[in-house]
Amino acid sequence: MAAGPTTEVRPMRERLPLPDSTYMQAVLLGGVIVTLLFLLFASPSTHTATLRLAVPIALAAIGGIFAEKSGVINIGIEGLLIVSAFTGVIVTFWLGSGESTLFVSHHWWGMLAGVIASTLFALVFAVVCIEFKADQIIAGLAVWLIALGLAPFVSRIVFGSPNTDTVGTFDNVTVPVLSELPLVGYLLFDTPPQVWLMLISAVLGWYLLSRTSFGRWVVASGENPKALDTAGVDVRKVRYTAVLLSGVFAGLGGAGFALGQLGTFAGGGETDIQGRGFIAIATYLFANYHPIGALGGSFLFAGLDAIQIRLQAAGYAVPTELIRTIPYVTVIVVLVFVGKTRLPDAAGENYESGED
């Protein structure tokens, strides 16, 4: 994929979603090797578990990329996952799971509600950061903490427990014939819909960011907002849109995870999301803000999670807590030894037009 002398790689990446630095190409190569080993030696159920567990991480990461590229660091993404997962489950429960309205399954209405809830939370965050110039880190923490408290609170009122009742999950989408294919058959053509949403979002995210004028504005807004402002583009609008997009993607991830994988939502402690939003931040830093790279990174971290679940099921007591430090350790190692992840110049800085 990334082989060949660099001079020939260059024109290729004009057309293909390939990362542009040798560091990213090395990561890509490593990723391909690890993936092959994983596909060869892990069981099909671990493969499918990996794909499903990657959903919240990948989608939250794609959302986070948009926010941060535009200059707004959204560490509240964990909170957005919690809000959307919980809302998805509770709305599905209210409507009645297993039934449909207007020919659409209530799981999908729950999904829509989850995305809307997450986007509204993102809007509040955007207003606080962009309009009131609050510190983005503090505001992001607030989003997380509010979600962390609000979900079990509402759950307690509705269900009398921090954990919701079970609503069940999406049915697998099974494509006839294609699902019989080896490997890709059960990976892609007999899989719950949120997996497809994740794959499509990654490509869409990459396309938006690198091929549309909006993507360029997002990058400019994060690197040099004044340049964008003087070019006649409203930095505030770009940042609002980017943060709202992070809410939409995270909402798809949170609700997709709850309604496609969990079928319920446990709101106690760190909730069922279990820090996947923070892993998502680590993932996109690891992927140097490349949406498709972030997808790959989410596979790595979800794969470790899937293996760990398998090991526990098989009776090996691997402490989950230890496994879950892996993404952060990886990111620190990457940042220390490679140091290629570069934050946008104006990330974390609030921008005021007309200031000199």
Binding site: S213, V219, E223, D229, T230, A231, G354
Partner: protein
């Protein structure tokens, strides 16, 4: 005063405004073909009138210089024309039509483009991406940016105006001069007919300045109109067809550069007579105060940026270092002042080896430093002047008593600096951020000079400072020299290093290419040296080593 040309000095502009001013635009363009007419513009900020009924007429296809000191209101006036500010009074007339620009977008749409002093470019993006930013042509029903079209249009523009810019290059990799051309292309791409350039030469080498002049010529030949803001007299007289002088927010008048002298212009600008050339008396050298031996410095990316520099500065001597920014002078200075540890070599100060001394020890030993970036290093912008005034001396016995700062004496000290160095507004309680750049600089210069130093390391001491204040800072530097202080002066202003220095070292890619007597070298030769080219054997081949024994005045 001059009667010739378009000279309407002092009250002239004001006298015209009611009668002629209105009549002219009401009936179209009247006499000349005016591309821009700013009629009677007034712009107030809280507590200040930045523009007081200013009148500016710019003829199509000409280069018009807007000359004035810092704070004279030049940039404010242009920001009004560019839609960044809305004036309280007066009219903006572009192409004979009265306009009300609410934002730069409106100005761009009316064909007015601005090239800011600090380039508005996104370093990580390509030239093409920057040029088209905000104006991307689209294809596939708006779903994708039409990159081929952008490249094609940029190539067309380059051909037409004779630019040599690669649309695919990343902006961060370009020289400052090339970045400026990208900015100009950006304005042209947006269909600008009137180009405003804010202090366009501040960051350029002499060769790049020449390049800019020819670009301006090419542009005006093709019918574009240029307004450029400057406080440099030479530039205004050299490049402009007409010069409008602003002073204290008022227009002093418009003159024809061929019919005036620089002295006269300076007088209009400042309002009094100004000595343009600093008068340097040659003098005997004293003891060596600072010397470095084979200094090597690597930057953050572990690239060697200073490659074995030897220098000596004597008491009562000014050693100038000329060079294009980014040739290692910054890192050299940081090594000398203790902000950075050299990878090799030693630094000796007042006879002691100080290579491993901390910054604080060096300050205590009498090393004053005017840093390159006043915002990042010189001041704490959110502190008031009293707090800023004690920076660097916060532990000295004069101001501190066992960890407690004696604010009363610091205040006295600060007020002395403010008075002596004419910092405006003269308010010790004002936050540093509220001062104009030139006044911030004067304050830093004052603070550092009043440390009673043995050595002053001055980096770009007059960057962004108007000529009145520049003259003052130069005088103070020379006074210190008279008092036997050693001065190491780094500046990208050639006339500054040339006129002040006793010896002049030229740095290129981390090495001294030459150390000369500044009186014996022309600006052209200097420019070539700064670009790394040795002019044809002008004198005996010199070692790249700076020792104190050559080139100084006998």
């Amino acid at each position: 005063m001059t009667d010739s040309g378009t000279g309407t000095i002092a009250d002239g502009g004001r006298g015209v405004e009611h009668g002629d001013g209105t009549a002219r635009t009401a009936g179209g363009d009247g006499g000349g073909d005016l591309a821009v007419h700013l009629d009677n513009i007034t712009k107030r900020f809280p507590g200040v009138v930045a523009n007081d009924r200013v009148d500016l007429r710019v003829e199509r296809g000409t280069v018009h210089a807007l000359l004035g000191e810092n704070g004279a209101g030049k940039t404010t006036l242009m920001n009004v024309l560019y839609g960044l500010y809305q004036p309280e009074g007066g009219r903006v007339v572009v192409d004979g039509q009265e306009r009300a620009f609410d934002s730069p977008r409106d100005a761009i749409d009316a064909g007015v483009g601005m090239i800011h002093q600090h380039f508005m470019l996104v370093d990580t993006m390509t030239v093409a991406e920057n040029i088209a930013l905000g104006n991307e042509p689209r294809k596939w029903f708006g779903l994708a940016v039409d990159r081929e079209r952008i490249d094609r249009e940029i190539r067309d523009l380059c051909d037409r105006y004779g630019f040599d810019v690669d649309p695919g290059a990343t902006v961060a990799d370009l020289s400052v001069g090339a970045q400026q051309r990208v900015e100009i292309l950006k304005a042209l791409y947006r269909g600008a007919d009137v180009l405003i350039l804010d202090e366009p030469t501040a960051v350029l080498t002499p060769q790049e300045v020449e390049g800019l002049y020819s670009v301006l010529e090419e542009l005006t030949e093709q019918g574009k109109t240029i307004i450029f803001i400057t406080h440099k007299l030479g530039e205004a007289t050299h490049a402009a067809d007409e010069i409008t002088v602003l002073r204290d927010g008022e227009s002093v008048g418009t003159v024809d550069p061929t019919a005036t002298t620089q002295e006269e212009l300076a007088e209009y600008m400042v309002g009094r007579e100004v000595l343009l050339e600093a008068d340097v008396e040659p003098r005997e050298n004293g003891d060596v105060v600072l010397s470095t031996d084979d200094i090597v410095v690597e930057d953050e990316r572990e690239v060697e940026v200073v490659s074995g520099i030897d220098l000596e500065v004597h008491s009562g001597e000014i050693l100038g270092i000329a060079g294009v920014d980014g040739n290692g002078q910054g890192q050299l200075i940081e090594a000398i002042t203790g902000l950075r540890t050299p990878d090799e070599g030693t630094i000796t100060f007042d006879g002691e080896e100080v290579t491993d001394w901390s910054r604080r020890e060096r300050i205590d030993a009498g090393m004053a430093y005017i840093p390159e970036d006043r915002h990042e290093q010189g001041l704490v912008m959110s502190f008031d002047l009293v707090e800023n005034g004690v920076l660097g001396s916060q532990r000295s016995a004069e101001f501190a008593n066992g960890g407690r700062i004696d604010w009363a004496s610091v205040r006295d000290h600060t007020e002395d600096i403010i008075e002596t160095y004419d910092v405006r507004p003269p308010d010790a309680d004002a936050d540093a951020v509220s001062l104009s750049g030139g006044n911030q600089q004067k304050f830093i210069v004052g603070r550092e000079f009043e440390r009673d130093p043995d050595l002053v390391v001055a980096t770009h001491p007059t960057r962004g400072v108007d000529i009145g204040s520049t003259e003052f800072i130069h005088d103070r530097l020379l006074e210190l020299r008279e008092e036997g202080v050693a001065v190491l002066l780094v500046s990208s202003k050639l006339d500054e290093v040339q006129s002040l220095s006793d010896r002049l070292a030229v740095i290129y890619e981390g090495e001294f290419v030459d150390v000369t007597d500044p009186d014996e070298i022309t600006e052209e030769e200097l420019g070539l040296l700064m670009a790394g080219e040795h002019p044809s054997e002008r004198h005996e081949p010199t070692d790249t080593v700076a020792t104190g024994d050559r080139g100084d005045a006998e």
